[in-house]
Symmetry: C2
Subunit: 735 residues, 2 copies
Amino acid sequence: MNSPLFWFVPVASACALGFAAWFYRRMKAAPEGTPRMAEIAGHVRAGAMAYLQQQYKIVGVFFLILTGVFAWLAYGLGLQNTWVPFAFLTGGFFSGLAGFFGMKTATYASARVAHAASQSLDAGLRLAFRSGAVMGLVVVGLALLDISVWFVVLNRFVTDADPAHKLLVITTTMLTFGMGASLQALFARVGGGIFTKAADVGADLVGKVEAGIPEDDPRNPATIADNVGDNVGDVAGMGADLYESYVGSILATAALGAAAFAAAGDPDAAYKSVLAPMLVAAVGTILSIIGIFAVRVKSGASQRDLLNALGRGVNLSSVLIIAASYLILRALDLPNFTGIWGAIVVGLITGIVIGKATEYYTSQEFKPTQGIGEHARTGPATVIISGLGVGMMSTVVPVVAIVIGTTLAYGFAAGSWSFSPETISLGLYGIGIAAVGMLSTLGLTLATDAYGPIADNAGGNAEMAGLGPEVRRRTDALDSLGNTTAATGKGFAIGSAALTALALLASYVEELKIAMLHNEQNSFILRGGEVVDTALATLPQFMEYFQVNLMNPKVLLGVFIGSMMAFLFCGLTINAVGRAAGRMVEEVRRQFADKPGILNGTDTPDYARCVAISTAGAQREMLFPSVIAVTVPILVGVLYGVPGTFGLLGGGLSTGFVLAVFMANSGGAWDNAKKYIEEGHHGGKGSAAHKAAVIGDTVGDPFKDTAGPSLNILIKLMSMVSIVTAGVNVAFTIF
Amino acid sequence: MNSPLFWFVPVASACALGFAAWFYRRMKAAPEGTPRMAEIAGHVRAGAMAYLQQQYKIVGVFFLILTGVFAWLAYGLGLQNTWVPFAFLTGGFFSGLAGFFGMKTATYASARVAHAASQSLDAGLRLAFRSGAVMGLVVVGLALLDISVWFVVLNRFVTDADPAHKLLVITTTMLTFGMGASLQALFARVGGGIFTKAADVGADLVGKVEAGIPEDDPRNPATIADNVGDNVGDVAGMGADLYESYVGSILATAALGAAAFAAAGDPDAAYKSVLAPMLVAAVGTILSIIGIFAVRVKSGASQRDLLNALGRGVNLSSVLIIAASYLILRALDLPNFTGIWGAIVVGLITGIVIGKATEYYTSQEFKPTQGIGEHARTGPATVIISGLGVGMMSTVVPVVAIVIGTTLAYGFAAGSWSFSPETISLGLYGIGIAAVGMLSTLGLTLATDAYGPIADNAGGNAEMAGLGPEVRRRTDALDSLGNTTAATGKGFAIGSAALTALALLASYVEELKIAMLHNEQNSFILRGGEVVDTALATLPQFMEYFQVNLMNPKVLLGVFIGSMMAFLFCGLTINAVGRAAGRMVEEVRRQFADKPGILNGTDTPDYARCVAISTAGAQREMLFPSVIAVTVPILVGVLYGVPGTFGLLGGGLSTGFVLAVFMANSGGAWDNAKKYIEEGHHGGKGSAAHKAAVIGDTVGDPFKDTAGPSLNILIKLMSMVSIVTAGVNVAFTIF
């Protein structure tokens, strides 16, 4: 029960954090360019930090209230594990910390990247990418640290004679710190998404459309807010989101492993199966660091070289993780380790397929996006219709990939397609570890994601500081590359969220078991009269006992509510962007009217006011969707019990996933259809077709950057809430 | 087993068909107005009939192929009930016939209504509404006829010693003619929807936007096609759709009743429970006729009077059906008849709530649509964003209404909220009869629905024939009333489709039972070792045996595929409209270029070519979505068996319902936001805000008239396909 292999996890964490610190120092040491560049970067940094401070205040209040509730449930009512409030708090803390560090790095990097790009393209790329790597490594480093510490602490303090059961208690307890991470991520994604799109849409509507000034023009008062938004939405939000998927998938898999082998009466295998996802993540972290160093271009590299360089790093670490995870599993000597390894490989491939499909549907190099560009010739209505059509069609491949991937992962790990007590637990473990496989090289994937907004901000900095056209050309090349990686990154984030949520759904059953034992419900009676020992009950027996079948109206109604939740959540966030953008439009118009000097460059706009407006808008608007996301699962659990909760999670997961893919891809396709026209097709910049495409792009903004990514969190958070309140579901159901 | 009450059903059918014939004759006897009006109506009629002929050809081929497949399954492989191919054919035939009669009436009525409106507003209303009533009464009359004939025939030919089991065989066999109706409805909705929106969008894009001529201007070559489209999409399509819901809900409820009381060993109650939905429908038909006569306005009535007149008819028949169904159930002396009556009332109220919510979100008298109008001031992008937001938010009330309605219907009918073998069958019967309650006064509801396109066409006729402004003002009033009833009608169609699909899902289990018995699988063994007699098995036992629980990956993956299907189907139909509209735009441009005399009125456009283009487009584009809708349930059944099928149906139903509400309401809200501005707000007609709102309206067209309504059919058709191929699912599963 104490394999030395475990210590590889904290070591990987230390490596990740060490390299992150090193990259950070190197970045800070680079020159910031002209005083004007430093000044602009300072504005953006101050705005971002001010926003984050505001956000953490609200999140803090929310956390305090929920911690109080959990403490009351645990200590007052005795319904719950007493570690839950603490686990919840640390999860939220670390997730927030990861976002904070990532954003700090990104906001320090922008001017430095712009300056490096003024030297050479490859210098710019290297600095931007290494800055993005800080974010990637901080996320995985903190996640592995959190996991290591809790695993050691709980191993010491949980007292249970049965070693397999002790592991189950430890892993299901740790899982609840995913709830903290999830909630933090929700605020970051929703708040950040509203902030960034309110600024972006507001800046575009008045700046580009009304005043006719280009994007990132320093005369536009909302332009700093727009740049701040890229950081709070794409860097801090994305980081917290993937931190949560990463931690969630590892811990859910650990819990499923403990359950699978505990049921088989093999505590040794149970321990190994708990270690396996942690070790795969740890080795993936080391390989990510290697991959990061593999991303390099020669001086004078073209944009294609840039893309190839990133691809090389990702491919290298994917190939290495396939080999390394085989060796790890072999060294662990888990039963059926080749099958489990197969599941990991399936997870990796599923992630790649979803990424490629996203690229096909959203890149202007392929037919779907070009088709939208063509429809721009008949005006904005056909741009919108065709973009929605493309987004809807684009849901097919990701769903089929998830379905085939999940089927194969289950089959490989279980050694059978059947749903019998012997195979089901192993099969679900396979689905969990497939998610871990997909996320194993997150350090690197996230580096390429975070690279995008950094390059974008560098471009904004160069534009606002009035650097020469050659520098702008280079930062444009860096930015365009970032758009491609951002689209695939979004596909990857959604795919991994879906697999993680599936694993969480499976581990909800284990939480129910723990909750029943906690309530001293040590046995239950099935309909046939059979008496089942709770501790030894199989998953199908739990399903029979709780009547979680699709003809139970409670399950079906839960599914309906889950589907509705996805749409409601999107509607709320989209409307929030609309309202906040409206306030921004009014403010920019007011500034232009009050200070006519702004537009001819003789007066400076009040950037800070726009940042404050976006901040206030995001604060106000993010509260209601967040409250809904937390309370509805609790409410459904109380009203319709375990069957209703399962329905809610299943319906929310499937509809949320499909809706998220649709929104992200429609948005991405509109964005790039506009770029396609700007490249000179159908009349190029300034033509009627371009105007139509700009409208599509504006509609797509809240799709791809607010509502779509927020759904990733929703599907995970609802599972997390149900997991944490499993005790309530068991003890208290009205209908 | 032979209650004289049954004969009330054919009598009601005869009444409905008799009054339909009478209204039709009265309408035909009315004068058609000027020769120009008759000529225009002749064009529209010829176009509509030409389209329908084409559609029936393709549908015919499809039906022949499927009948062959069913015959092979039944006679060749012996997997299925031998009556299925015949039931399938008659269902398709009657559904098609209902659409045909409705459309014939509507196309004869348009000029006559325009002429009557030139006399007085109330004369116009009466004629338009009575013509719509032909459609409503034909649909319910043919449905009750089909049900009566089959019930008598099968009662005679099905030989089974056990009377309760005989009833189960009869009702489950009859249910399969819903598949024919469903398929016919699919083609009508999808084909009609593509036809009408290709013509509408095409006509608007060139006519309104490019050439600057008003809607329904006779110079626009696509204008006749646009009017034809209203008939094939809204009349024939809506009729076939609701025919299917009506028949499906009655027969599914009958099958659920037979199963519930057969299990309770009470053949007498089983017979009564089979009669109950038929009798409620029959009495509802008589009350609908009374309601139709109650719709009358005094000479010189205002538009508000018109709305009140329609409302009076609907309210009167709703109140009467509540009283009459109580008396019917009491006369039948069903066990727990007050509870079942409660379920009927719940169904009626659910329908009303959904209708009112639809009105709130889509009428310009309320805030959401006014808000979209306000966003029009900042351009088309914000119109689109806010319209999508409104549509998403509008899903909440209908889902909550369905959830509460279903919970109450279950609880009232079962006398308990629990999911035990004793209560579940009764509870599901309650859900089914709630759907019957909602649809009981369909004769009247459908009359108000069909009234819409008739009034619309009358307006078109008046415009094209150059009638005076006073007549146009009156037809506009009639048309505007039609828009309100059309929006509530759509909400009602979606709500009833959801409840019907729930009932179909429940009766799928009965089909499985029949299929198992047919395969001589007379018993099965549960996991606990219990041996269960198939004929006596309870629903929870079937669920356990087939492992239809939400932790079975097959179920979950089915749910994913179901959610994806809804989006895929919408994407396909939306893209189809885009392509077909593109061809229409090119044709209209070509005509304007070739014959410059068209625009100054010296040359006549070639209307027939535009009709032919829309027809060809609809034909080509409707095939693939239809094939997908039929084959995917079969494929999932073969690959993932009964659990996968349940998942598919559950996921498709919930996502499809929410998506359909979203699309219908976004589309309706955009339409009316445009009307709101045209009424003089935010600058009125011709302002920048109006231009932005027109773009929203154009985007909404395929939403509310093609993709949204087609989803109603998809969710029912997928259940129907699974019901008909239940034998295949039982006999043959790969994974």
